[in-house]
């Protein structure tokens, strides 16, 4: 650092030489990946401030006017305001409904991924470090679970648990922890025989400290890649289940539920009730996947050199 100060480098230049800075700089080399990041950012902000941005509170029944039902995009309402993306059968402004739906979809996706991340990664790391019976039993369960499609397991769990945001989040955690456990164990297997782990052991550090302070940071890059695509997949699975009518109740309308609601009208040519929530969903998922792909290129040590 002192050397940098002498050579007159700024804080930014110094940051660029650290691993995180390098990774960010490399990520930014891809224009489409940067765009994907900003798209996701815009959607997250829009979801967070939905109640401020939305032209209407779509679930305040007093604000809805049945006379404005199933209006085309850009048509004028009975009271004079313009519905940018049209209205549904109850006269609900679709743009507002999408913003509120985005909030539910994104929070289900993010929260379930964070919980699955914590559980799966911890179990995978402990399995790799401890080995023995715990490892073999855990990996058997992981393999068995991964041999069934995620959608099917989530469907069964929702049959058992019932509907609701908390239930679907739990179901997605149960479905996705196995991916994190497998990836964490896989990367940790390569790390566990390295010198620094041996050194930490020689220092007689506690097992938990070695696992979470020494092993985990070195496994993180590959797990972060998975986490990004997992958010996309969780959002997609939630939307699919809600579309099938078994994910969320009608009181908590995510994007999937909005699409499902508009499906009936799609066949009579009133496409916008399904179409625009679908576009929002697809843009979020594709942008998240693009970020995941770029992160994979940046963080995957196997692709380097």
């Amino acid at each position: 650092m002192r050397k940098d100060a002498i050579s007159g480098k700024g804080a930014l230049a110094r940051f660029r030489e650290r691993p995180l800075g390098k990774a960010i700089a490399e990520y930014c080399e891809s224009v489409s990946a940067v765009m994907a990041f900003f798209v996701v950012l815009i959607f997250v902000v829009a979801a967070l401030f939905a109640s401020l941005i939305a032209p209407q509170n779509p679930y305040d029944l007093a604000k809805l006017d049945l006379l404005d039902g199933t209006l085309e995009p850009l048509s004028k309402s009975f009271s004079g305001s313009v519905y940018l993306l049209g209205t549904d059968e109850q006269g609900r402004d679709m743009l507002s409904a999408i913003l509120y739906g985005l909030r539910i979809s994104l929070s289900v996706g993010v929260i379930s991924t964070i919980v699955a991340f914590v559980f799966g990664t911890s179990l995978g790391l402990i399995a790799a470090y401890k080995g023995g019976r715990f490892e073999s039993i855990l990996m058997r369960i992981v393999d068995l679970q991964l041999s069934f499609p995620a959608l099917l397991i989530a469907l069964v769990l929702l049959v058992v648990l019932g509907q609701g945001v908390d239930k679907i989040t739990l179901a997605l955690v149960i479905v996705h922890w196995a991916y994190f456990a497998r990836a964490a164990r896989g990367s940790a297997m390569a790390e566990r025989n390295r010198e620094y782990i041996e050194a930490a052991r020689a220092l007689r550090l506690g097992d938990l400290r070695i696992i979470f302070r020494h092993l985990m940071p070195n496994v993180m890059p590959s797990i972060i890649v998975i986490a990004t695509t997992m958010v996309a997949r969780a959002i997609s699975t939630e939307a699919t289940l809600s579309f099938l009518g078994i994910g969320l109740p009608i009181t908590e309308p995510s994007l999937g539920l909005l699409i499902s609601n508009g499906f009936r009208y799609l066949l009579s040519g009133k496409y916008w009730i399904s179409f625009y929530p679908g576009i929002a969903l697809v843009v979020v998922i594709v942008a998240l996947n693009m970020m995941g792909d770029r992160l994979r290129d940046v963080l995957n040590p196997r692709l380097k050199r």
Partner: protein, 347 residues
């Protein structure tokens, strides 16, 4: 790169496949025994999940029933007995092919599902057909000419089909091809013909027209996956010495592609396709719901919404057995196709 594809749960004992057919038989027998254990475990889980959680009495008994009627019904269905006794009864019945009667249709749940299986399988095989006969040629092409515009289009389609939710693609197909253009019908099976006593759609023009959209919808994800796999495999193989040698020998390009390249890229493709077939059955629930295709996927979604438990249980048990069977076949084919698996065993 391959999403949703897991290693087989029985990966540790590699199928010993080689000259000795006895070892193959032993392997299959061992796997069948493991499968029986797995079916038992899954039946317990399914039973506990669907029957023990929540109170089935609430669904069976009308809310205005008297206390005496309540007790009567609970006793009649054996709901007052301890859980292990209930499971014993469920299991004994299940072995005899009785998974309960549907509350809604008042018919054997197993029979109701069995009637719907052909429609689902027909759709699944149609999508598999599309995947193989579109995906492999497209993947080969974009592997040979990675820089041409059409192969960039192919890869763009593949990336899109890979990440976009299948149900949304299905809706867009309905919107474009059925509602706006009016080219293809968007619901039902169309005219069916009996083939060996089973109604099928693919033998009539009307039936095929009804099948195009759902089959494409179900194939989208697999198609994207197979295009990527074939492309990656092709690019790897065309750099190999034996392809260079074949070219140097002056073999016709068609022969090089069909024999030398295709044969060597086919192994991972077949493995993945086998595993994807299970996913196809699961995702058939989505496609069947969109296109009102009368298969078992639509039946299970309808049954879940009215909590028709015997049908749910029967569906899950059939799915479990199906998956175990598919995994077994995939493992056997894999060991038969890949000579390296055999070589490792011999040493």
């Amino acid at each position: 790169m391959i999403r949703g594809v897991a290693g087989s749960p029985w990966a540790s004992p590699r199928p010993p496949c080689g000259k000795d057919h006895n070892t193959v038989a032993v392997f299959i027998i061992r796997r069948l025994l493991q499968s029986v254990v797995l079916v038992l475990v899954m039946s317990l889980l399914v039973f506990l999940g669907v029957y023990a959680i929540g109170n089935p009495a609430d669904i069976l008994i009308a809310p205005d029933a008297t206390e005496a009627e309540r007790v009567e019904v609970i006793h009649h269905f054996g709901l007052d007995q301890p859980l292990y006794a209930q499971y014993g009864k469920f299991f004994a019945n299940a072995v005899q092919g009785d998974l309960g009667r549907s509350f809604k249709f008042n018919e054997s749940a197993l029979k109701l599902i069995a009637e719907r299986i052909p429609a689902t399988l027909e759709l699944a095989f149609a999508s598999l057909f599309l995947t193989i006969f579109l995906g492999i040629p497209l993947g080969l092409y974009s592997g040979f000419k990675p820089n041409s515009i059409s192969s960039k289009l192919i890869m763009g389609f593949s990336a899109f089909g890979f990440s976009v939710p299948a149900f949304w693609l299905g809706l867009m197909m309905v919107m474009v091809f059925a509602v706006f253009l009016g080219w293809l019908p968007a619901s039902g099976r169309g005219q069916t013909v009996n083939l060996f006593g089973v109604p099928v759609s693919f033998l009539t023009w009307d039936g095929i027209r009804h099948m195009i959209l759902p089959a494409f919808n179900l194939a989208c994800f697999k198609l994207s996956l197979i295009i990527r796999l074939t492309r990656a495999g092709t690019q790897e193989v065309i750099r190999s010495d034996y392809v260079k040698y074949a070219k140097a020998k002056g073999l016709r390009p068609a022969r090089i592609i069909l024999v030398h390249v295709l044969k060597n890229t086919l192994i991972p493709i077949i493995t993945v396709l086998g595993m994807e077939f299970g996913r196809t059955i699961a995702f058939a629930t989505v496609t069947e719901t969109i296109f009102a295709w009368p298969g078992m996927g639509k039946l299970i979604i309808d049954s879940i919404s009215i909590l028709d438990r015997p049908i749910i249980v029967a569906y899950l048990m059939i799915i479990v057995v199906m998956f175990i069977f598919i995994n077994l076949i995939v493992d056997v084919i894999y060991s038969a196709l890949d000579p390296r698996v055999r070589l490792e065993e011999r040493r």
